[in-house]
């Protein structure tokens, strides 16, 4: 039960983060979009650099204060490089990831995002069914 409560509370915090991005900056809190366009000169650079600083910086603080919140991966570096490459390539073609499509897009009832979410969850499930899924 407490696992689900934490999941819900964590999710609400994510929703709050996205709320600030929208209400204050008028922007979508989609991680890949922010990352892919971080240095672009379209007026959103302050938002994107600030957001990523907060994201990575908070992760750094948490790694010291509450390291138990992080899991570990047992995979080798080449394996992780391939996985990372696929994530980078895929999300850029799809113009979004679990944050952009899964949270922000779904909240807007975007058909594009529903299809994206179904696609990446489907592909993820097939992948884990084949590989066994041990991180």
């Amino acid at each position: 039960m407490t696992d689900y409560v934490r999941a819900l509370v964590g999710g609400a915090l994510i929703g709050l983060a996205a709320t600030i991005a929208l209400v204050i900056h008028g922007r979508i809190a989609g991680i890949c979009g922010i990352l892919a366009r971080v240095l672009e000169r379209d007026g959103g650079r302050t938002f994107r650099v600030g957001f990523l600083t907060g994201l990575v910086g908070t992760g750094a603080v948490l790694s010291v204060v509450t390291p138990g919140l992080f899991g570990t991966t047992s995979h080798g570096l080449p394996y992780l490089a391939i996985a990372g490459l696929l994530v980078g390539i895929g999300t850029t073609f799809a113009n979004g990831c679990t944050a952009g499509h899964g949270v922000c897009g779904v909240a807007r009832f975007s058909a594009r995002s529903f299809v994206a979410v179904a696609s990446f969850i489907f592909a993820g499930m097939v992948t884990v069914a084949i590989t066994g899924g041990h991180p």
Binding site: R27, I31, G84
Partner: protein, 140 residues
């Protein structure tokens, strides 16, 4: 200054949300994607929490002309479903299923995860740059 600090707050809350919800534990992600063994539905609960808070905000924002610190909202413009969306999402899904990491959790875990996460994130950035380069060429 205000804009930067508030953007940092947004990123900080996002990171906190991911960590508190367990999404920075790859085993919870692969557990969600593992339908043949012990299924962990946590990811759905996280999404429900996020969408539950954010969805009403979107509705309210639609009725407004501008956000607080910008002249206009930057809503996504595309509504069509195309091959790129589906194929791209599936490729992403494979990488996600292989590692248990997607962009957000990977960045939040960067410092804690050290070299393995640095490799993942660098590879991810390479993939992003590669595709953006390809798409830009195609548009010319």
């Amino acid at each position: 200054m205000k804009a930067f600090v508030l953007a940092m707050l947004s990123g900080a809350l996002f990171a906190l949300g991911l960590a508190v919800s367990g999404m920075t534990i790859p085993a919870k992600i692969t557990g969600f994607l593992d339908i043949t063994r012990d299924w962990d539905p946590s990811l759905l609960v996280v999404m429900a929490g996020a969408v539950g808070v954010y969805s009403p905000v979107v509705r309210l924002a639609r009725g407004r002309r501008a956000p607080w610190l910008d002249g206009r909202f930057h809503w996504p413009t595309r509504n069509d479903v195309d091959v790129r969306l589906v194929a791209g999402s599936m490729v992403f899904g494979v990488g996600w299923g292989l590692s248990g990491y997607c962009p957000g959790p990977a960045l939040v875990s960067l410092v804690h995860g050290a070299l393995p996460l640095v490799v993942f994130v660098c590879a991810m950035l390479s993939g992003i740059a590669l595709v953006r380069g390809v798409l830009r060429q195609g548009a010319q």
